[in-house]
Amino acid sequence: MIRSPRAYRLLLLVLALALALSCAASLGFGAAPVPLPRVLEILGQRLFDLQPAQALSSAQDSIVWLIRAPRVVLGALVGAGLALVGTALQAVTRNPLADPHLLGVSSGAALGAVIVVLYLGEFIGLLSLPLAAFVGALVSMLLVLAIASRGGRLESDRLLLAGVAVSFVMMAASNLLLFLGDHHAASSVIFWMLGGLGLARWELLWLPALCLMLALLLLLGLARALNALMAGEHSAVSLGLEPRRVRLLVFVCASLLTGVLVSLSGAIGFVGLILPHVARFLVGAEHRRLLPVSALLGALFLVWVDVAARTLLAPQDLPIGIATAAIGGVFFVLLLRRR
């Protein structure tokens, strides 16, 4: 485990560099492979206005810059966001199995998506599905909060149980709609629910990026509070915190970020559950150190899993949720065996 401040800073630097390199390298992979030097030329031209030695084909340029690059960035944002949310939720609920999708947000988002795809159609174009998914996520967040709070308290057990309960009701509703609805349309919703980064467009990325930055800032500000809450309700109070307020803040922040991410990428499992544990392996449970590492690891993980999703069944896109669960699960089993 990494303890000294210097080793920790080095780790952050290494992870950040690895992420930047991975993002660049991953642009070459996909149904139409693009050699790495060519990828770098395209990036150089797009980002720094460097003129390449020979003219670039516009097909490769648009594959790399317009299709893959936003997808890779979205992957990094989603991975970072889910890992961040998972880390914070595991602390405030004192439950190592807490997960962004456990809050009911993802099933709410799925219900929103189902309603749009089956009954409303793309009423405002491409954005309809993400928007509806986000509204669904908000509705289930409010439902969970209303159910969980009682007499001015917000206990972690009730929060988790309310999340699970709302999740099931939302899932039942969307499954019912899928069952009753047009099966062709239903399959497109099912694909969305399995997770995928195919929706990524440059003009959509500012929203998850902004939300991720705000969430990271807020959670870093609450890092001491997260430590104290992890130690228990009484300890937190005796250290001057109001557990209900911290929990409410973290829950709302987690739900909003998860809602935004899920609405763009579908419910991608595993990242928010396990990556926080991998990060704790590396740097321990102190949240000021843990949160940045967790986010970087999540981003790194999802960028590479998306490469697998693009190449394994090329030219088909494997839904990334399947890939995260399979790769992540096996990886975690290996990690546990080696411990």
Binding site: M1, R3, Q90, A91, R94, P96, L220, G221, L222, R224, A225, N227, A228, M230, A231, G232, E233, H234, S235, V237, S238, L239, G240, L241, E242, R280, G284, A285, E286, R288
Partner: protein, 256 residues
């Protein structure tokens, strides 16, 4: 001067039958005050009212002359530190990190730990004899060591009042004595609940005895710990004499 003053306090868990009623209690500056009473007599509930965990239905809790329940939790935590029987779960915090939590009420949102904080943590760990363990995982310590880390965390909080819930519970006789001696040398106003009456008699300046949520006796150990009181409150026969060396009351339970 009174650090902690509780007057006419009443509390009930859900508004019907009072678990605490008409409590009057004072902890003076530098005093170690013991809270005694059988299981379920309300000791823990009373302590919770004093560290701002549960709001009393009636009465006042004053800290340094200020009403505790009209002040912010943060204000309270800057003055009152608590050592409880509640251990963090195994998420992998180290001993030093648990102790450093004591800085929480003194720090703003994005404040890091400066050299003064690090020094405080190291001094506190040295005082409880755990400097050598500071990088170890808290979860791997024995119950007694955990208890001492939590005391170190309380010291790092730099309180004016210390509240302890059964502080000697997980400790062997040597650490029981060491911990209480350490607490005495801190010179802080301290309110602690005890099950071990002999330890309370040996270390406390004053004692309060709770029974069914009411204070049934208070005063020095010699005034409070009498055979009649023990029979009445605990329902057990005891022999009370003087400790041959220290002179404080010594309780010997009589097995009928």
């Amino acid at each position: 001067m009174a650090r902690l003053q509780i007057s006419d306090l009443a509390w009930s868990p859900n508004g019907d039958q009072a678990l605490l009623d008409g409590i009057e209690l004072v902890v003076g500056d530098g005093q170690l005050v013991g809270l005694l009473g059988p299981n379920g007599s309300g000791k823990t509930s009373l302590l919770r009212c004093a560290y701002r965990f549960q709001r009393p239905d009636q009465g006042r809790v004053e800290l340094d002359g200020e009403a505790l329940w009209s002040s912010s939790p943060r204000w309270c935590a800057q003055r009152v530190a608590v050592v409880l029987q509640e251990f963090p779960q195994d998420f992998g915090l180290t001993v030093a990190e648990v102790a450093a939590m004591g800085r929480t009420p003194h720090k703003g949102l994005f404040d890091g730990d400066d050299q003064a904080d690090v020094t405080l943590v190291e001094q506190a760990l040295a005082r409880v004899g755990l400097s050598a363990h500071k990088r170890q995982a808290f979860a791997h310590l024995s119950g007694g060591e955990k208890q001492r880390v939590l005391l170190a965390r309380a010291l790092v909080q730099q309180p004016t009042l210390l509240i302890l819930d059964e502080p000697t519970n997980h400790l062997d006789p040597r650490y029981q004595l060491e911990l209480l001696r350490l607490i005495k040398t801190l010179g802080l106003a301290t309110l602690a609940s005890f099950h071990d009456l002999n330890l309370a008699a040996a270390f406390c300046d004053r004692l309060y005895v709770l029974d069914h949520g009411r204070v049934v006796a208070s005063g020095t150990p010699t005034e409070v710990l009498t055979e009649a009181l023990l029979a009445e409150v605990y329902g057990v026969q005891a022999l009370v004499d003087r400790h041959p060396l220290a002179g404080h009351p010594r309780i010997t339970w009589i097995n009928p």
